[in-house]
């Protein structure tokens, strides 16, 4: 069994990192957004 003529395990091990890095990017952007939201709320309080 294989994917595109490559052993399945090898394929997943090598190309599975592409969705992994996309996932990390999505989490990073989400966390940055959350941070920004928190910061802007803090600013509003600070600025009265």
């Amino acid at each position: 069994m294989g994917v595109f003529g490559m052993p399945t395990g090898t394929f997943v091990l090598i190309f599975g990192w592409i969705p992994f890095w996309w996932f990390v990017a999505a989490v990073s952007v989400y966390r940055m957004r959350q941070n920004d939201k928190k910061n802007s709320q803090g600013d509003e309080v600070t600025n009265g």
Binding site: G5, M6, T10, L13, I14, V29, M32
Partner: protein, 521 residues
Amino acid sequence: MVNYSIVAPFIVYLLILLAIGIIANRYLVDLEGYLLGGRGLGAGVTALTLQSTSMSGFMFLGAPSMAFRQGVWALWYAIGDFGGGLVNLAVLGRGLRQLSETFGSLTPIEYLEDRYPHPSIRAVGSLISIVFLSAYVFAQFIAAGKALESVTGLPYIYGLLLGTSIIVLYTFFGGYLAVAWTDTLQAIVMALGINILLAAVLMEVGGFTGLFSSIASQDPTYLSVWGQGFQHAGAFGVVIGAVLLYSIGYMGIPHAVVRHLSMEESDTAKSAIGINVFFNTFFVYQPYILGLAAIVLLPSLNDPEMAIPQLALTLLPTAVAGILLAALMAAVMSTADSILIMAGSILSRDIVQRFSSREISDERAFLYSRALVVGIGVLGIVVAAYQPPSVSDLVIFAFGALACAFLVPNVAGVYWTRANWQGALAAMIGGSGTNIIWTAAGLQSMTAVHPFLAGIVISTVGMVVFSLITEPPDTDVINAVQTARKSVDAPTGTVKQSTDSLAPEATAIATHLSEKSLADN
């Protein structure tokens, strides 16, 4: 025999780059405005500039040659490279920006001395940077020589002389002014060119299934994650090092750190992360797959580093091949000029001006900087002509040594208050020294541990042990680190100057100009 149908589009493309540079400079009115404010470069330009600077001749020559020799195993490097920019942004970006703002430091070396206040940090850091940035540039010279050899049909030595001359002259006469604009075009051309070539290759071999089946029929171990002939079987230390090299290594590379830090907070950074992974999806794995395709299509290839140029010349229409090879040359130039000027800036700012007992004028400092550019050019020609190492070996060595020296001090500087200058010095010397010895003595094959992994471990141990057995840093430094960590505001003030300038060379010139205008007033 010179093939003019390839040479013509090659030259036209380089002339277009030059024209864009000239037009961009006129459009931007004056240098000071360009560097100090009103840049207004969006996330797209920012991210693509970062990419084209990071993706050098290694991606066109080194990566495919590794895949040609080692098979699928080489893709461990691609895995790390895919996430390198992202990791740099997520782990180091914000903290280092805030800390450098607090200290008012403008360059990575200056930051290190501010965070670890001792002259030896700047001296050793500058020395390591100049030596290994030079080695990094040598690899670009070799790549340029080989690109010109394949385009013009001239012998390698003439290609090398011509390529190095173009790079040094381009740098010397201020090619950096248009870097942000030309790099964007180059990144797009590089990605388009490489994917057009990949499409042509896949049509030729019958898609991915045809490609991998053909490789397996030649030697199934090419498709093993342990390398052709299982030469790295069970060597987890080598695999981990190969993945970590480009995934975390960027956090120690001076010109990458500066470029990542120079993005405007925070919408630009968020968009840049998206563009980064999008671009990497279409660029990072492709050169390695082309190297695998060369196993099938060019089995008798003498020099594996010529896999992409040879595939282009074999499968693409000559005009398209010419543009692809021009993109290769442009990729080399966009990396080389940044590094050359960064090395020159380090010599002038971080060594000559910092340590000279006399007052050194900016004009004289720039003279030193440019002399170093020419010096590196001449030395590079000698090294590359006498016994040219492979581009991949040289890039991995230079990148590894820089990363081993600076990654731990950079990260510890942000996350570990106790880290002091003794620890940082031990980390820099221990890390880069281990990488050099490991590579030179061929310890990877004896220990099954990658030189980068060995260097990072020693660097970390050095940082922890020497920091703990010596006095903690001054309270000023500890307070600055704690303040920076608590800070939630977007960087302003001093870092605004460095964030406005995309490139390290621009930062150096910005400082030069602001000091000059202060002196004039």
